[in-house]
Each structure stands twice: as structure tokens, then as C-alpha cells.
């Protein structure tokens, strides 16, 4: 098992954002985690990558317990988190952003170096020497994903990669994610754009007010309009 989360809870100054969430991801899976605004999706990812401290529960990643492990150690173990809003380092060039990503790899081997990332996102090669801050939103998302790939991820966490992107660019990004998963990468995909996330995954978790409200096949969830309407507040739009 790649990731096994048990009874995970987290709070911000006493206010609970996660109340005992359990989930698991097998090697090679791409799993969706969906939920409305403020459901606790980002908090969950932040607990996994160590930037938010879990109040309770356990996180086993690739066989070891990682609750309390500091973020830079977690990423060096191969758990890479592409945070919400992309978070490109504006002052560094595209290439420097990517090379920085290499740090997490350490002595592990990785399928992804500069040339593989450039093959996946050719636009990054064109913009190689530009500052990260000059990229468009879609390009920044590609850079954020490429940067994480450079770290040789065993598990990739993505927080709302489609945020603020046009449908066409979103397609490109999701195509890339599917290709990565097909090549064997394990992915946990957090999305508010539930429809898209359910289309590209086999299994999904639905988070509501810090608790799991549903888990199962993405296809079932996708076609269960009652569930979507009830938990996400709107019908999926194509």
C-alpha cells in the first residue's frame, strides 16, 4: 500500500478542519478527493506533506509512519505535494524552479529529469530562461507539476490543478496527469471541479465538513446526480 491514513484529525486554533478521516491509496492508482469549499481537502494534503500538524491519527506512507515528520523530509521520502494556487517561485527562472525540484530526489532514482519534463510540457522548454512569475496560469501549473516530478515522486498530491484554468488548458493538464498515471505514477487528485476529477479516476473520496461522506467508484459517483447535488450543491456541468 502506498498511503494509508487512519482517523486523521486536524484543527486550526481549536476549530476542527478534519475529524477522523481514513483513506488509502494503492500503488499505481489515481484517486480523486472531492468536496465543497472549506471541506478540508487542502488541510488533508497539508497534513500528508507535513505543513499542517495532525492532531490525531496516523499516516503511513510507503511503509513508514510520517505524522510529525517535517515537510522537507517527507518530500525527500518521495511524497510530493503540488500546492493549491501552484506557488511558483516567481524570482527563479523556469529551469531553476525545476532544478530546485531535483532536491527532493536525493539519492533515489527517478523517471523524470529535465528532458522528460520538457517532453511532457514542451512550453516549459521554450520558456526555460524566463522568470517563473512571467508564465501564464496554465504554464505555472505545468511548471508546478514538472517541478514535483523532478523530485522523483512515489506519490503525487495535487491540490486543485484546474483552479483558474480555461477548459482547454485544463484538458491539457488532465491529459498529462492521465499519461503520468498510465506510466505508473500514483496520484491523489484534489478537485472542486468534481466532474473532471471523477472522469479521470477510478476511485474517489468525497469530503464534507472534515469527514468522509462517500467513498467508492468514481463512475458511480459521477452518475449519481443525487449525491452530487446533495454534497456539492450543484449538478456537474459538462
Amino acid at each position: 500500500m502506498m498511503l494509508e491514513v487512519k482517523d486523521l484529525a486536524a484543527a486550526y486554533s481549536g476549530i476542527e478542519a478534519l475529524r477522523g478521516v481514513s483513506l488509502h491509496i494503492e500503488q499505481g492508482e489515481m484517486v480523486a478527493l472531492i468536496g465543497a469549499n472549506g471541506a478540508g481537502k487542502s488541510t488533508l494534503l497539508n497534513c500528508l506533506s507535513g505543513t499542517v500538524r495532525a492532531k490525531r491519527g496516523s499516516i503511513r506512507f510507503d511503509g513508514s509512519e510520517i505524522v510529525g515528520t517535517r515537510p522537507h523530509r517527507v518530500s525527500r521520502m518521495g511524497l510530493l505535494h503540488v500546492p493549491e494556487g501552484r506557488q511558483i517561485l516567481f524570482e527563479l527562472t523556469v529551469e531553476e524552479n525545476l532544478l530546485l525540484g531535483e532536491l527532493a530526489r536525493g539519492s533515489r532514482t527517478s523517471d523524470y529529469g529535465l528532458s522528460e519534463v520538457f517532453k511532457l510540457f514542451p512550453i516549459l522548454q521554450e520558456r526555460r530562461l524566463q522568470r517563473g512569475g512571467t508564465l501564464s496560469g496554465g504554464q505555472q501549473q505545468m511548471l508546478a507539476i514538472g517541478r514535483a516530478l523532478m523530485g522523483g515522486p512515489k506519490l503525487l498530491l495535487l491540490d486543485e490543478p484546474s483552479l483558474g484554468l480555461s477548459p482547454i488548458i485544463t484538458d491539457q493538464v488532465f491529459d498529462a496527469l492521465q499519461a503520468l498515471n498510465a506510466a505508473g505514477l500514483t496520484i491523489l487528485l484534489v478537485e472542486q471541479n468534481a466532474n473532471r476529477a471523477l472522469q479521470v479516476t477510478k476511485r474517489a473520496y468525497l469530503l464534507e465538513h472534515g469527514e468522509l461522506a462517500y467513498q467508492g467508484n468514481s463512475a458511480d459517483l459521477l452518475h449519481d446526480e443525487k449525491v452530487i447535488a446533495h454534497y456539492l450543491g450543484h449538478l456537474p456541468s459538462a
Binding site: 505543513t51 522537507h72 510530493l80 500546492p83 532544478l99 525540484g101 532536491l103 530526489r105
Partner: protein, 296 residues
């Protein structure tokens, strides 16, 4: 005559640049105005002085001063900044606690020197001059220039061409994201403060040698100059600090030679004012730089 003043100005300016560089490195990376930089500078001069007094060769004294003031700078970080980092009020809090740290270092210096001005023993440094046409260099000036140029180049290389430099700039941009990518922020804090302190220490010993005068209060005037240099060059801009430091040194030397001495300072700050009116972000500052205490 003017060529000579130019040379003197470049030498003085290079020391200003060295001092300001460490100051701007901390500001640019962590948004901390580290007023204890003056105390660290003074510590470097003291360490160098006591090393020489104990019979060590000057080059070794220089190395010890670098390492010693680098460590002192890191101790300031641990004591004055790391302790308040979690509170979310780092910019203002750090300003105050750096004043405290500076006072501690100064009282230490005052104790060690019994409030006296310390002077290097006679013939610590060969007093020799080289003539190039109308211009005269002292041996000390040549050494200062060499050391500063080597350090500046090493620093540029380190910041912009190595993985460590990338990590420093990454933490400067966004510490959380850097740590998600495997950067250990603790190590970055150590390196940055150490380098900043080491540069200040070298500047301290250089100034101590130039004027053959070391005292606990010697850092303060340079701190004020560092503000001028850093603001003139553009807050947080490394290139800007170097160029502005040189300009300030040259201008000061020319002003002393050709203008009424009482007016020098007035003119320097007047000029700074004009530059800021025309280009508020400084000569090399990017327009987007947030000055002062703005939070992301």
C-alpha cells in the same frame, strides 16, 4: 588628483558594499532589518585584533574573523529571530530584537576593550605604496580591493549558480513551498546568517586596519551607510548594494576633497532623497518589491 580620489573612493566603497551586502542579504531573504549587523561587524574587527595580538598571522586572523562573526551572526538569528518567528510579527519584532542583540554585542565589546580604542601592534601590516602614474595605492588598499572583489564574485556565484543559492532564493520567495520541494529551511537560515556575518566580519577587520582603530561603537556609522546603500541600490538587490556601495564611497571621497566638509553628509542624504523621488524602488530595485513591513 581626481584619479587618486576616485581610487580611494572605490576602495572605501568596496568596504561599504561588503558591509551592505550582508545586511541586504538578510533583508532580501527574510525581510528582516538586522540592526545587529553593526555589532557583528565590530565583532569581526575584535576577533581579528585579538588574533593578531596573540601572534597569529594576519591572513589567519582574517579567516578567524570571518568564521567567528559568521557564527555570531547565526547566534543572533537563533536568539533574536528564530525565537519570535512563530509569532507572525517577524518584521517589526525582529527590528526591536535586533537592536537588543546589537546592544548585547556592543556591551561585550565595551567590556573587552575597557571602552578604549584598540590599535593593531606596530607593523602588523606592511606600510608600502605602489605608484601607477598619478595614482598611489597603499598595499592595504590593494589587499582590500582584492579580498572584496573575490568575496563579491564568490557570493554571486554562490547565490546564482549553485544549488545552495537556489535554495536560499527559494526560501526567500516562499519558505513553505521550498520545504515542500525538499529544502531544509533551517539549513538555509544557518547559511544565510553565516555568510552575512562573515562578510560583515571581513569588512570590520578591513576598516579596523584602514584606520588602525577598533572600538565597540565602530559599527554604528556603517549601519547608517548601509541603509543608504541598500535603499539606493534597491531593497534586497544584491547587485544594487554593490554598485550603490561603490558610488557612495566614490562620492564621499570626491565630496571631501572638493566640497566644504560640513556639507558632505547633507549632500549624500540630499542625493539619496532625490534618487528616491525619481525612482522610489532604488537604482536596481524592481518596481514590485514591497518595501518595509508589508506582508504577503
Amino acid at each position: 588628483m581626481i584619479a587618486q580620489q576616485l581610487v580611494n573612493g572605490i576602495v572605501t566603497g568596496s568596504v561599504y558594499a561588503l558591509f551592505a551586502l550582508g545586511f541586504t542579504l538578510i533583508f532580501g531573504t527574510f525581510k528582516i532589518l538586522n540592526l545587529a549587523h553593526a555589532g557583528v561587524f565590530m565583532s569581526g574587527a575584535f576577533i581579528g585584533y585579538f588574533a593578531v595580538l596573540n601572534g597569529l598571522p594576519l591572513w589567519l586572523a582574517l579567516v578567524l574573523a570571518m568564521i567567528g562573526s559568521g557564527l555570531i551572526s547565526y547566534i543572533v538569528e537563533l536568539g533574536a529571530f528564530a525565537t519570535i518567528r512563530g509569532s507572525g510579527q517577524i518584521e517589526f519584532g525582529a527590528l526591536i530584537s535586533s537592536i537588543g542583540a546589537n546592544l548585547c554585542l556592543m556591551s561585550l565589546g565595551q567590556r573587552l576593550s575597557n571602552t578604549k580604542v584598540l590599535r593593531f601592534p606596530f607593523e602588523t601590516f606592511p606600510v608600502e605604496f605602489y605608484e601607477f602614474g598619478p595614482v598611489r595605492f597603499s598595499f592595504l588598499q590593494v589587499i582590500i580591493l582584492l579580498v572584496v572583489v573575490v568575496l563579491l564574485m564568490a557570493m554571486m556565484f554562490y547565490l546564482y549558480k549553485t544549488s545552495f543559492g537556489r535554495q536560499i532564493r527559494a526560501v526567500s520567495g516562499n519558505e513553505r513551498v521550498a520545504s515542500l520541494l525538499g529544502v531544509n529551511p533551517g539549513l538555509v537560515y544557518f547559511q544565510t546568517f553565516f555568510i552575512s556575518g562573515a562578510l560583515a566580519g571581513v569588512a570590520g577587520i578591513m576598516i579596523g586596519l584602514s584606520f588602525n582603530s577598533i572600538h565597540f561603537y565602530m559599527g554604528e556609522p556603517y549601519l547608517l551607510k548601509a541603509f543608504v546603500v541598500v535603499v539606493l541600490g534597491g531593497l534586497g538587490s544584491v547587485h544594487g548594494a554593490v554598485v550603490a556601495g561603490m558610488l557612495l564611497g566614490i562620492f564621499q571621497n570626491l565630496a571631501v576633497a572638493y566640497l566644504p566638509s560640513a556639507l558632505t553628509e547633507t549632500i549624500i542624504y540630499g542625493l539619496l532623497f532625490v534618487v528616491l523621488l525619481v525612482k522610489p524602488s532604488g537604482l536596481f530595485g524592481s518596481e514590485g518589491v514591497q518595501v518595509g513591513v508589508a506582508r504577503r
